[in-house]
Symmetry: C3
Subunit: 267 residues, 3 copies
């Protein structure tokens, strides 16, 4: 998979023009920051979790993003209903398995979601991706304890088993579809000190897959834009507090020249 500044920029333009509606069933911690990132990029976010309305909402959406960060039983039921309707309506689905491996409840919920309706893109950190394939793997809370590279084999297995793209975020990000792998080397070490930037990456995958015919390209483009905006923000930020805000500003102002100058990606 070859991604370059031109393909990334073309998708950014499409998002800004189409302003795709991205339906998020996500965790309480990141709802605000996720919505702001989608708006800054040019998409139109909506958060809706009621069993009574998720099917109607996903039917008018360009993508569905399911994030298991703060679970409860009724939310899980809504995730299943929304996913089934998305599948029927050919709306692409992004699944973020936050904290898979930290508790049996999370791991099992993620397994059941994938088994019921395989996502178009599964995006997590290495600990989470490893935990999904290896029941014995343990995650410490929601932060990764392993480098992204350690999860590439697990990502390949998941991709083949469920015909989905698996995206592993870390110092280098990997988007895996069967044997194909795209790599993105952008980003900044201060980014994991801002809560929910992984969740934001999943939400941006939703915006990109809403306008892109290739889920693999969508995942790689989303990670590239995340990393580039993070680098731009880190140059101005005095710490993770201001990083978070400059990141949104960078998403909003992102230009073709920024991408051309900064993108470091490979196949």
């Amino acid at each position: 998979m070859r991604i370059d500044a031109g393909t990334v920029w073309a998708d950014v333009v499409k998002i800004r023009e189409a302003a795709p509606l991205v339906h998020n069933i996500t965790n309480y911690v990141v709802m605000n920051s996720t919505a702001n990132a989608l708006l800054a990029l040019g998409a139109s976010p909506v958060m809706a979790h009621a069993e009574e309305e998720v099917e109607d909402m996903v039917a008018i959406a360009g993508a569905l993003v399911i994030n298991v960060g703060t679970l409860s039983a009724s939310w899980i039921r809504s995730m299943h209903r929304a996913a089934r309707r998305a599948q029927a309506a050919k709306v692409p689905i992004v699944l973020d398995p936050v904290g898979a491996g930290a508790t049996p409840y999370r791991t099992q919920t993620v397994h059941e979601l994938i088994a019921a309706v395989p996502p178009t893109i599964l995006r997590g950190n290495a600990s989470e991706i490893n935990a999904i394939v290896a029941a014995e793997a343990r995650t410490k809370g929601v932060d990764s304890t392993a480098p992204a590279e350690s999860a590439i084999d697990a990502a390949r297995r998941l991709s083949r088993a469920h015909s989905c793209v698996v995206c592993i975020s870390g110092a280098t990000d990997y988007a895996v579809e069967g044997e194909e792998v795209a790599q993105v080397h952008n980003g900044h070490p201060m980014m994991p000190r801002v809560t929910g930037l992984g969740c934001t990456a999943s939400a941006l995958c939703g915006a990109f897959v809403a306008v892109s015919p290739s889920a693999l390209a969508a995942a790689a483009h989303a990670m590239a834009v995340m990393g580039i905006a993070g680098e731009m923000a880190a140059e101005k930020a005095g710490g993770p507090g201001t990083l978070q805000l400059y990141f949104l500003d960078a998403l909003y102002n992102l230009s073709e020249a920024d991408i051309a100058r900064r993108l470091r990606a490979g196949g």
Copy 2:
């Protein structure tokens, strides 16, 4: 309805002196930013949604703000209980019909809330206000797809039918009470790129109506303060991330001179 810098400022001073308790039953996305805006303005926010406590909480509040942005069945029950108690205790009510028209569930919930206890102020964007009167109107998620002007007739009808003030936010904001209309021309085009500034506007309506005998003036004053603080923030902001923070700083520092210099309002 004539609003001028003196009437706006007088209400800001009242809020800063009285620090009215504003009870919010609002959506997960904006709880933090709404609370911060109320605190920055000088009010005292509280978020409480349990059926077991909403009646006790609203009884000690200066205003109740109901926002349907992220609904579920038990929250709707709490909204009804709180509204009935507010009505009995003569506590003014602001209703924000977030996403009305996007799904039948939202539209119906808003209809039932208005029918049970008409709000003192109903504040939404044009798509939402139109969707409440026209069952056939469709909203794209939670962002408006129509200019504020397109909803003035709908606002007049709702205002007369329910004896309430209807406030439509947009490039120009309108506060409508029967035949009376106040207009506010402040604001900045970057504001819709920050999630929940509409919800913040509703919360500020709550702070103003808690100290004002006129709901129409309260709505217009809230929109004026929103727009002016937004303009002040936009002059310093590099994008929607920093806009959000400078907006809170501007609310906190807002002076009589700022209002006198910037207010653009009409009848």
Copy 3:
């Protein structure tokens, strides 16, 4: 209790090295800002509230933080389950009684939580601490209406009755354990204009008590770090919006020299 720059700094270093997992069952308003503060300090936050997983999560955590800011019945059940498991596993517990006294439901919930499993540290503002011991005391929403000093007697009683540390935040912060009292005089008057900084203080108590053998020292150190980071942020901030972000930057950059220069604490 003698706290000095050396003891504070030693605990900050321990947190940065161990990155203790802090399990929060907290309110919707502050989840994002709390998680960001813990990450900025160097801890690893996780938010989890499902009855199905709180016991598994707390078992791998270094501390449990329970915050009653936005209650509902199922969350209260999870708080009890998590607290019992924490007690069994000797995981320290911080309890933040947000809004105790504002409604009977909150006051009663706090009483029942303390009676079931006494927390290691109980941290609130003076209104809340007073409300817990005096059923007749009334709180206005979630903001304190009384100076911290007014709650020292109540704190002593609670500390003795439940063998816990009670921490009262205000212009001066007090950490009370039986007859012992530590005082911290750091902080800035603009801090109460940022929502949830009290909740952040409780979360930081969780990070400190996860690495400290003394709960009294942990509470005092957490308040010192809060106050010092708040002062550093206020020097740069133009209002409460930017204060919030510079506060996170200050936590992240906090050095031994900052603490040595600024700490004002006494026994």
